[in-house]
Symmetry: C2
Subunit: 402 residues, 2 copies
Amino acid sequence: MSTEFSFEVLQRSDDSAARRGRLTTPHGVVQTPAFIFCATKAAIKGVTMAQMRDAGAEIVLSNTYHLMIQPGADVVEALGGLQSMTGWNGPMLTDSGGFQIFSMGHGSIADEIKGRRSPNGGRATTLLKIEESGATFRSYLDGRKLTLTPEESVRIQRKLGADLVVQLDECTPFHVDRDYTRKSMLLSQRWGDRSLAEFARLNDDGRQAMYGIVQGGTFEDLRRDSASWTRDRDFFGTAVGGTLGGSKAQMEDVVGMAMAHVHPDRPVHLLGIGGIRDIFMGVALGIDTFDCVSPTRIARHGWALVEGAPGERINLRNAGFKTDTGPLDPRCACYACKTASRGYVHHLLKAGEMLGAQLVSIHNVATMTRLLREVRAAIETGTLADARRRWVADEPASEEAA
Amino acid sequence: MSTEFSFEVLQRSDDSAARRGRLTTPHGVVQTPAFIFCATKAAIKGVTMAQMRDAGAEIVLSNTYHLMIQPGADVVEALGGLQSMTGWNGPMLTDSGGFQIFSMGHGSIADEIKGRRSPNGGRATTLLKIEESGATFRSYLDGRKLTLTPEESVRIQRKLGADLVVQLDECTPFHVDRDYTRKSMLLSQRWGDRSLAEFARLNDDGRQAMYGIVQGGTFEDLRRDSASWTRDRDFFGTAVGGTLGGSKAQMEDVVGMAMAHVHPDRPVHLLGIGGIRDIFMGVALGIDTFDCVSPTRIARHGWALVEGAPGERINLRNAGFKTDTGPLDPRCACYACKTASRGYVHHLLKAGEMLGAQLVSIHNVATMTRLLREVRAAIETGTLADARRRWVADEPASEEAA
């Protein structure tokens, strides 16, 4: 492992497992807890990389599944790799490609929960076969048959060139029994070992670092088994993946099952989770980084994240905002809030102007980075509960009791 | 007229009617010749106002026709007027609303030449009636019947709040005879007088200035009549409108017919023309400002303006750019050219990422402002012919001879 990669825990919370950290990569430093924004196809939808930086983002991710199909890993490599190609030139992560193949192929609820869809809105991609060697599926673009093995995923991620890469795993669906979940987890572990071996072979310059993935569904013993397996392997970081259950309470339980057994000194990423309340939950359990497409996806539908708002957000398409001269969120100092009123954004959204989605996206990115900044400060000052009260207004009793 | 408005000719060209000027408005100064970018519905498509400023833009325009329908002039006024609402806070112009009503209603070729369409791609708006009092048409949004009179256009533009406003005129179609053109021109003159009267009544604070419009089709005597009419009225500026003929050569002739008789000390705007070659043509005839939707419209189809390129542009969707690591235009220093390669933008366009259109739009705006900067410098140094040779590569003999 290159000395260019490191993770330091700077401070620990007294009353939870929350921790302030610093994740160092060859392309820069990420203060943790942090939110990783999704540049799915090597672009944040509607936001330039300069605007991402202005909005306080420190790290973005791209999806191997999308990029291996279009434009292809060789093209990304020819264009200098993701950091250079996108102009981001900062810390990046790529996933393994597995999540999209399996969640779409299984027809599971995972992509619904996590808000991911194929580009044409349907289930254009079909998982054809899962074998010991890898997974075979159809391209969403032209229907051609593709196979992704652990080794191929690592090779593709090498060409894409992100700092942080992820082992191939099977993303186990929610509605399967313990036996399927266990067999799937064991397959992911064998794929993880193969991913690590290929990674060790290719990463001779130490310019990438790999995360192992904790699977095991909602079963405590399987989560322990899987987390222990990642702990005992030479991964740089740990990612908690797979189904996290069907309610907020179960999500907290399942993440807790994994966190009890992960390597204590490695950065831990929680895959695909980005609700404000969920972030406070994850941080308290020791999660260091999060990712989700939601900040920019909901923006395209007119939803602006607002500190303390019921449901964490407001919909600017609502007629009530038509002549509202106030900013999207009075507590926010982003470009959109400094220059545009709710009424103007309402007009842009109603008129179908892409600038509407752009401005709300900038605001949502800035809000997530502000949230995480405040979370980090709150860990340092022991005021995480206060920060949570400011940001999370409503606590429906029914959901807490679920 | 408020002293906040002025137009000074700073320098004149020796070998043409080209002139360097300074147009002062309450919201700032515009160096001329200048290009006015179209924020049709109070938004530049895909580009924030901060990015417009970074790209060198000094003035934008919005369309009364679109805004009177959505969100309505009262809403724009409630949101602080166009400059404040959009966050532009710089010089702005609104047109009278007439162009869209008539070009769409007449089914003329003007909107094809000038590249304007209704939002749904068809001819959703229908001109119902032209009377002495004004024009009645159907809203593109909900089909309701609307009437626009000269007085109402001025009142709407007052609420929209742009610095520069335009009289209502009938935009005469191309394929009509001399008699129709003459009657239409005379109607526009009567509407112009009514526009001026209403403007004088409302503009007691002098915060707006009005342009008269030269009509007269392709007929020299009518252009002279119409230009003389604007010259003899108390307009701040002159706009050359209506059909300019069916070829580049005829366009030059027709603009020349008008320019021979306009007020020599007032700024002259050429409506809806934005090709690079056309700008050199207009500048040489003494035009001070231009507008066209083309820089951002062609960007959304993947066309990047490139100095000296055949046809003035390249299409980044072409497969040949797939692994091209060069900038959109090596002579350009815009954000897109500094951070993105042709290959990356090619990928974004093919993948349907809105960021592709955004980056090309930024580039095209920056290219137009650079073109006009170089035109202004060339007027000052007497090197307009050299500048034209750099920017306009191809000169098809057939078109010149048309």
